[in-house]
C-alpha cells in the first residue's frame, strides 16, 4: 500500500481554533449552572467479592496462628514454672520427709501406671 501520507506531517494540529477566553467563560457558565446544587461525593471503590474473601481468610489465619503461638508460649512457661516449684518444695523438706515421700509413692498404683 502506498504509504505516502505520514501522520507526523500533521501531528495533533487542528485546522480551527477556540475563541479567546473560551475556557474561562465555560467554567463560569458551569459554576453558575450548579451553584445552587449539592454534589454527591464519589463512592469509595467496592472491593471485588473474591478479594474480600481472600483478605478475610488471611486475617482469620493470621489470628489463629497468633493465638496458637501465644497459647504455646503460655503452656510452656506454666509447665516449666510448675516443675521448678515442686522441685524447690521437695528440696526444702528434711531428709526424713523426703525418704518418707519416696517410700510412699514408689509403689503408688496411680503414679506408676
Amino acid at each position: 500500500m502506498n504509504q505516502g501520507f505520514n501522520f507526523k506531517q500533521v501531528g495533533k494540529r487542528m485546522p480551527y481554533s477556540a475563541p479567546d477566553g473560551l475556557f474561562r467563560e465555560m467554567k463560569m457558565n458551569v459554576m453558575n449552572m450548579v451553584k445552587d446544587e449539592h454534589m454527591d461525593l464519589p463512592q469509595k471503590p467496592i472491593r471485588k467479592k473474591a478479594t474480600r474473601l481472600w483478605i478475610t481468610a488471611v486475617a482469620v489465619a493470621a489470628s489463629v496462628a497468633a493465638l496458637w503461638i501465644v497459647n504455646l508460649n503460655l503452656s510452656t512457661t506454666q509447665s516449666t514454672n510448675g516443675i521448678e516449684a515442686v522441685d524447690q518444695a521437695f528440696a526444702n523438706l528434711s531428709q526424713g520427709d523426703q525418704d518418707y515421700l519416696l517410700d510412699v509413692y514408689q509403689a503408688d498404683v496411680f503414679i506408676n501406671n
Binding site: 500500500m1 502506498n2 504509504q3 505516502g4 501520507f5 501522520f7 506531517q9 500533521v10 495533533k12 494540529r13 487542528m14 485546522p15 480551527y16 481554533s17 477556540a18 475563541p19 473560551l22 475556557f23 465555560m26 467554567k27 457558565n29 458551569v30 459554576m31 449552572m33 450548579v34 446544587e37 454534589m39 454527591d40 461525593l41 464519589p42 463512592q43 469509595k44 471503590p45 467496592i46
Partner: protein, 178 residues
C-alpha cells in the same frame, strides 16, 4: 487509577467545590476538543462541553472507582456529543451508526495555512462514529485501548480493530483525495 486522579478524587471528597474547579481546570480543554472533533461546530462543542461538566457534577456520586476517572469523564462527554449530533440531525446518532453526518465545511474559522490538517479532519469525518472515537481518543488524547473500550462500552480488541481500520482508511483518503 493514576496518582493524579486519586489526588483529584480525594480533593473532591474533602472539598467538593475546590475539587470540581480543579476537575474543570484539568479536563475542560481536552474535553472541548474531543467533542469538537466529533461535532465540528464550535457553538455545539461549547454547549455540549458545558453540559458534560454539569452532568459530571450531578452524577459524581455514581462514580464507583472502578476503572479510570478519565474514561468515566470521556464517556459522559462522548454521550453528550452524540446527543448533540442526534438533536442536530433529528435522528439518533450512536456509536453503532454508519456515519455522524458531519462534514467539514470551509468557512472563516478554517486556518487557510493548514489545509493538510483540514484534510485530515475531513478524512476522520468519513469514518463511522466508533472508528472516529477509537482513532481520536488514541491519536489525540493518547488513551489506551482499555480506557477507550470503557468509554465506548466495548472491548479492547474491538477498539484496537476499529483504530487500525480507521488509520488505514485515513491514509487511503489522504493519498487519494486533493
Amino acid at each position: 487509577m493514576t496518582t493524579t486522579e486519586q489526588s483529584l478524587i480525594n480533593t473532591l471528597r474533602i472539598c467538593p467545590e475546590a475539587g470540581f474547579r480543579m476537575l474543570m481546570d484539568q479536563y475542560q480543554e481536552p474535553i472541548y476538543w474531543h467533542i469538537r472533533r466529533l461535532v465540528v461546530s464550535h457553538d455545539d462543542a461549547q454547549d455540549a462541553t458545558q453540559e458534560t461538566f454539569v452532568r459530571i457534577f450531578r452524577s459524581m456520586g455514581t462514580y464507583q472507582g472502578n476503572g479510570s476517572f478519565r474514561s468515566w469523564i470521556y464517556r459522559i462527554a462522548t454521550n453528550e456529543a452524540l446527543r448533540c449530533l442526534s438533536k442536530r440531525q433529528e435522528e439518533t446518532v450512536s456509536l453503532e451508526s454508519e456515519t455522524t453526518g458531519v462534514t467539514l465545511i470551509a468557512d472563516n474559522s478554517l486556518e487557510e495555512a493548514d489545509k493538510l490538517a483540514a484534510k485530515l479532519q475531513r478524512a476522520i469525518l468519513t469514518l463511522s462514529p466508533k472508528q472516529q472515537l477509537a482513532f481520536n481518543l488514541r491519536y489525540y488524547d493518547e488513551l489506551c485501548f482499555s480506557e477507550i473500550a470503557r468509554v465506548a462500552d466495548s472491548t479492547p480488541t474491538s477498539i484496537r480493530q476499529s483504530y487500525h481500520v480507521a488509520k488505514e482508511k485515513i491514509i487511503k483518503y489522504m493519498n487519494q483525495n486533493d
